[in-house]
């Protein structure tokens, strides 16, 4: 519950160690609230959750947790170096370790040249980079990133992608919450879709593309009876002009469909199957009218 409104209800998901997990959903679906519950910032009215085997909110367990809040901001009178020192010390790092770690992190997130500038003069993108830096300063086992590419230019997005992969390579788990489906598609091992506070689908992006293919075919003289016949074999067939579009779950059915078209007397010039993108799946699951 969030105030008097139910933000998350019946949310059930498992994130495995060492994977990059994407959390997708439209605005107001409960993504940020879910992250906040996992971090102990918000108390659920019911249910339980564990992070790294300990109940959420456990203070000591936070040594192994990094978090980049959505729209990161901090004391604007600090310099970038001071901010990372402060967060490192809060994570229990020694001043000696921080002397080498802070320049490393500033380099990693691409703001080493602004190390001694105060945050007051930072752009949104620079703040976001610094926010990512504070989430990683103590090399946590799990990193929660809430819209990490928000406000970043294309180079910044690539940097975030590289940083996320580097976390996986060192064995850390990344929990990524984003609207940018293409980013998630490139980066994540697994995704979960959340709508109205409930997980409505899971997808492993390492082993399969999201639910089949979208097929576009150039077909002439297609009789209406053949279109009706197609409806039994494919999803949502549409024929306009000379363009026939439909969806299939596997490319294996395509030869049979071409045979059917030819047998009906149609002229088949071209058949192009395209894997369904995460965006197609997202729209299908969440509904076009909800908006991103």
């Amino acid at each position: 519950m969030f105030g008097s409104r139910v933000a998350v209800n019946g949310l059930s998901l498992t994130v495995n160690r060492g994977e990059i997990f994407g959390f997708l959903g439209p605005n107001g679906a409960g993504k940020s609230t879910s992250i906040k519950m996992l971090l102990g910032l918000v108390r659920p009215t019911g249910g339980n959750a564990e992070v790294l085997g300990t109940p959420t909110g456990d203070v000591d367990a936070r040594r192994q947790i990094g978090f980049l809040p959505e729209d990161f901001r901090f004391y604007d009178w600090l310099t970038a170096t001071e901010l990372l020192h402060l967060h490192g010390r809060l994570c229990g790092m020694s001043a000696r370790r921080l002397r080498t770690r802070v320049p490393e992190v500033l380099e990693l997130v691409g703001i080493a040249q602004h190390a001694d500038r105060r945050l007051r003069g930072f752009s949104k993108g620079m703040l976001q980079r610094l926010g990512l830096g504070q989430a990683l300063i103590h090399e946590p086992q799990i990193v929660f990133l809430d819209e990490p590419t928000s406000g970043l230019d294309p180079m910044g997005r690539r940097m975030v992608r590289d940083v996320i992969r580097a976390q996986r390579d060192r064995g850390a788990t990344v929990f990524l919450n984003s609207h940018l489906l293409s980013e998630i598609e490139i980066t994540c091992d697994r995704v979960a879709f959340i709508k109205d506070g409930e997980v409505i689908a899971n997808q492993d992006l390492r082993t399969s593309s999201p639910e089949g293919f979208h097929v576009t075919a150039q077909v002439g003289n297609l009789p209406p009876a053949a279109v009706a016949q197609l409806a039994g074999l494919v999803r949502a067939p549409r024929y306009e002009g000379e363009q026939l579009t439909f969806g299939v779950s596997s490319q294996d059915v395509l030869p049979e469909i071409v045979r059917l078209l030819v047998a009906s007397g149609a002229d088949v010039y071209r058949v192009t199957p395209e894997p369904l993108s995460l965006e197609d799946l997202f729209v299908k699951l969440v509904g076009e009218d909800r908006g991103l």
Binding site: F2, G40, R62, Y75
Partner: protein, 277 residues
């Protein structure tokens, strides 16, 4: 515990780098300058006419109390204004998310900030208080009766106001928090004056109302106790002034203020611990 010290350190650094403390310090310097000039004019005026040293001492002591009262008011207002945003602002802007997810308990965040502000307020009061005393001594040769007791009570008054501001900051926006904290300070001020009225009014209802106001917000009663400690016995007997000792807050009132502070700080910690961020 180290988290508390880290937060206290960053709070102190914040105070030093933001303009508000230095603005308050500048205000104190201006008031001190006006105070010094006024005192000097008074001394010159006294030198121009025959005057009993006893009366002269009483008047100059009274003027010193005015200076210290100004110093006290400025310290309380500065305490409220500098601390008003520290929790409320960070909660509403989400700045606190990056800290509250670190391995530090929420009560430690609050305790650290509180310690930082306490150190800042203590330094501010010490500087302005002793500067006022020094100016008065240099110009007139007069010293307050128990300056150390007085200073500690003024610092305690600021810390009580700070605990109220912190509690409000865990639940309200910066603006609401500021209005409520200054409003409560107004209640305390009114309570103090109502109790003073008892100097020539026999209305027990007025006194009761004054005591009730002081129970709601006991900061002003700490000042009145400070004034009692610092002024000459004769000055205290002049009934209608902010410094009169017609109804001196007893040690019970001071202990009550201590209990009030502990309750407010504890409630602030609990409130921050329980709320969603």
């Amino acid at each position: 515990m180290s988290g508390i010290w880290i937060m206290a350190g960053v709070t102190l650094r914040e105070a030093a780098r933001r303009k508000i403390l230095w603005t308050a310090m500048l205000a104190a310097v201006l008031l001190l300058a006006i105070f010094a000039v006024a005192l000097r004019f008074q001394v010159l005026e006294f030198e121009g006419r025959p005057m009993s040293p006893f009366v002269r001492y009483q008047v100059e002591s009274g003027m010193l109390m005015i200076g210290l009262y100004t110093c006290d008011l400025l310290a309380v207002v500065m305490t409220i204004l500098t601390s008003i945003d520290t929790l409320a602002g960070e909660i509403s802007s989400g700045t606190i998310h990056a800290i509250a997810t670190k391995p530090i308990a929420r009560w430690q965040i609050l305790a650290g900030k509180f310690l930082g502000f306490t150190a800042m307020v203590t330094a501010y009061v010490a500087i302005t208080f002793w500067s006022t005393v020094a100016v008065a001594f240099v110009v007139t040769g007069v010293l307050p009766e128990h300056p150390f007791h007085g200073m500690v009570l003024i610092i305690a008054e600021c810390i009580v106001a700070l605990s109220v501001t912190f509690l409000l900051g865990t639940r309200f926006s910066t603006l609401t928090c500021g209005v409520l904290a200054l409003g409560l300070q107004g209640v305390a001020f009114m309570g103090g004056w109502l109790e003073q009225v008892s100097g020539f009014s026999q209305s027990t209802q007025i006194v009761t109302l004054g005591v009730f106001s002081s129970l709601i917000m006991p900061s002003e009663s700490l000042w009145r106790r400070a004034a009692y400690e610092m002024q000459t016995p004769l000055a205290g007997s002049l009934s209608f002034s902010p410094f009169a000792n017609v109804s001196i807050p007893s040690m019970t009132a001071v202990v009550y203020a201590g209990g009030y502070f502990v309750f407010m700080l504890g409630a602030a910690m609990y409130s921050l611990h329980r709320r969603d961020l």
